[in-house]
């Protein structure tokens, strides 16, 4: 097990080196940060050359990459922002909490709905509730995240506010001035739901089919033959087996949650990392974009590793020796 994890980590490091170079190079291709300054008549050619020398921009790309990755590895320093006159680390640090809050609450919301509902649907297969669930799942799948976000804003933040005369949910941002926990939840709810809908649809279908696979298993007949109640048969013997594939999926889906967060945060102006990524790409704040893309790559690899480890913990048959 330990040997497997070490092997996997070594392999991940190679992948991340390749990914970091690709990220750095592609972002470099998208533009020259000094180009804008060159168009400004008040900035002299000497100033531009001095800046280029300071930031190493007159060097070939692989040398720039070398400096960048060296600073990250040795000092944990993601460089400077060209646009905000401050270091990338502090810009990102300010945005981590909103994203963790949004993704974390979305994941909990998703699992709290999808797992019980998937299990219920499997046990009551083809019942009315199961059929309604199937229909809603397909609607959820088919709904583009940005569109869903806009619709929810319109219905729950605009129409509902007009109708009630009191604001329940907010369209954008994370908090009002001087607002407390309730205010935070009023801001959080709509983006959380938006981010969750696709995952709820995915997880419900997934949990339903995992449970259906297990329900025909012979060991459930053995469990009944022992004299166990249906409740114990389902919630102990069946559920434990049906959760194995789901736990793996949770780790793997964290990655798609990041992608969803980029769109959701932008639609709701949620001050998180996803919004920052789009913002930095628009503004040509290249070091911020690079840092965010690299963090995403690291998380992807990390969650894959976690999926493997989680799998071996929940399923005693899996060993990586």
């Amino acid at each position: 097990m330990l040997a497997y994890i070490i092997r996997k980590i070594l392999f991940s490091i190679i992948i991340l080196f390749v990914a970091s170079f690709v990220i750095f190079y592609l972002v470099s291709l998208s533009g020259d940060p000094l180009q804008e300054l060159a168009l400004n008549p008040r900035v002299s050619q000497e100033d531009i050359e001095r800046l280029a020398a300071t930031y190493g921009l007159d060097q070939p790309v692989y040398v720039q990459y070398g400096i960048w990755i060296r600073d990250i590895l040795l000092y944990g320093d993601f460089g400077l922002s060209f646009k905000q006159n401050t270091d990338v680390n502090s810009i990102i640090a300010a945005r981590i909490w909103p994203t963790v809050l949004l993704m974390g609450s979305s994941l909990i919301f998703t699992l709290a709905i999808a797992i019980p509902f998937g299990i219920y649907s499997a046990i009551k297969k083809y019942s009315l509730i199961d059929n309604i669930g199937t229909f809603l799942s397909f609607v959820g799948f088919a709904m583009p995240v940005f569109f869903l976000g806009l619709i929810l804003q319109l219905v729950f933040a605009v129409y509902l506010t007009e109708w009630l005369g009191v604001r329940v949910f907010y369209v954008s941002g994370m908090s009002s001035r001087g607002g407390g926990v309730i205010d935070l939840l009023q801001h959080l709810f709509l983006p959380m739901v938006t981010l969750s809908v696709v995952s709820i649809a995915t997880f419900t279908r997934f949990q339903r089919s995992a449970m259906l696979d297990v329900l025909s298993a012979e060991y459930l007949r053995t469990a009944r033959a022992k004299g166990l109640s249906e409740r114990t048969v389902y919630l102990k013997h069946a559920l434990r087996n049906a959760l194995i594939p789901t736990i793996t999926l949770i780790a793997l889906s964290a990655v798609s949650l990041i992608a969803g967060a980029v769109i959701t945060e932008t639609v709701f102006s949620w001050p998180g990392l996803g919004f920052l990524l789009i913002d930095s790409l628009y503004k040509g704040d290249y070091n911020v974009a690079r840092a965010l893309l690299l963090i995403t790559a690291v998380l992807t690899v990390l969650f894959n590793l976690l999926a493997d480890i989680a799998y071996s913990i929940v399923d005693p048959r899996v060993s990586y020796d």
Binding site: A217, E218, Y219, R221, T222, A223, R224, A225, K226, G227, L228, S229, H237, R240, N241, I244, V314, D315, P316, R317
Partner: protein
């Protein structure tokens, strides 16, 4: 009063194609400590009969239009879920065909045995574990103190079936129903498992219902035999009666279809032609008549009841004892069997 008495049991299933009469009027009795062998081919209704006793057929689509299953005088077909749960695993335990899939892969073998013990007996976790270890030792699992904490996938096929038997016997049931317990195992392990069952039966006095399509298994184990065909009992009697003097042409054909070591190369085997009957559309007359080597015209008209042909030996055949003996003789001559 017999320990278990099944009277005219019917177990039917509603399916989109029609009603499947999986068991259609089966009766038998089982005394304490006795072994009954139920023999038949796939789809003859033997497993459904066993699951009916445990009331483990899924309802719906299964329903019981008729019959009684009397366990110590209580009719299990009228028992409530609570009462059934008290009986399952405690008074009547069951082991299944495939030990590879019959144990839950995510719980240790010990947990699964302890679970059976703890729902029926008021014992602490510690005591339950001791019972589990003792049960594993009883069924010949080496080093049970360590093995008790292992998962099913760490056991071999034969050991898993031993573990299943340990789980079934941990509560000291009065009846053990074994549904093809050796079918999924290789031959040497089969013999060990059967020996183990005989040994434990002698030790604990458990009555056994042994369900199998393997005639060798019942010959070795059973006191009496019920042969099933198309959802009905077609022959019942002591093991000696059924093996040495089969009266239902189906039983006789089955025995003639098995190669005999002592007559190898001298005698032709008798194949049973055709397919088992559809349990939705049974043939007119006797269920077996389309495949029967003895069939006469009257067999297509009359559905024969299970009747006593000789004392304690019943068969469902419309032919008279004399006609049966003559037919056996005639077919044997064709096959080259010496009388």
């Amino acid at each position: 009063m017999a320990l278990l008495e099944v009277r005219d049991l019917k177990t039917h299933f509603r399916t989109p194609d029609g009603i499947v009469k999986a068991v259609d009027g089966v009766s038998f009795t089982l005394e304490a400590g006795e072994t009954l062998g139920i023999v038949g081919e796939s789809g003859s209704g033997k497993s459904v009969t066993a699951l009916s006793i445990m009331r483990l057929n899924p309802q719906p689509p299964c329903y019981y239009p008729q019959g009684e299953i009397l366990f110590e005088g209580r009719n299990l077909l009228e028992a409530g879920e609570r009462e059934l749960r008290d009986i399952r695993g405690n008074d009547i335990a069951m082991i299944f065909q495939d030990p590879m899939t019959s144990l839950n892969p995510v719980f240790t073998v010990g947990d699964q045995i302890m679970e059976a013990v703890r729902i029926h007996q008021k014992v602490s976790k510690k005591e339950a574990k001791d019972i589990a270890i003792q049960a594993l030792r009883d069924v010949g699992i080496p080093n049970p103190e360590r093995r008790v904490d292992e998962y099913p996938h760490q056991y071999s096929g034969g050991m898993r079936q031993r573990a299943m038997i340990a789980m079934a016997l941990a509560c000291n049931p009065k009846i053990l129903i074994a549904d093809e317990p050796t079918t999924a195992l290789d031959v040497t392990i089969q013999a060990q498992i059967l020996e183990l069952m005989v040994e434990l039966q002698e030790k604990y006095g458990t009555a056994i219902i042994m369900i199998t399509h393997d005639l060798g298994v019942v010959a070795q184990l059973a006191d009496k035999i019920m042969v099933m065909y198309g959802g009905r009992a077609v022959e019942t009697g002591t093991t000696d009666d059924v093996f040495y003097d089969p009266l239902m042409p189906y039983t006789w054909s089955l025995l003639r279809s098995i190669p005999r070591l002592d007559k190898a190369g001298e005698v032709r085997l008798l194949p049973i032609r055709g397919q088992p009957p559809s349990l939705i559309f049974l043939p007119p007359g006797c269920n077996f008549n389309p495949r029967c080597p003895f069939a006469k015209d009257k067999c297509r008209e009359v559905d024969p009841p299970l009747e006593e042909k000789r004392p304690g030996h019943r068969a469902a055949c419309i032919l008279s004892l004399q006609e049966i003996e003559e037919s056996k003789h005639r077919v044997d001559e064709e096959l080259g069997v010496e009388q």
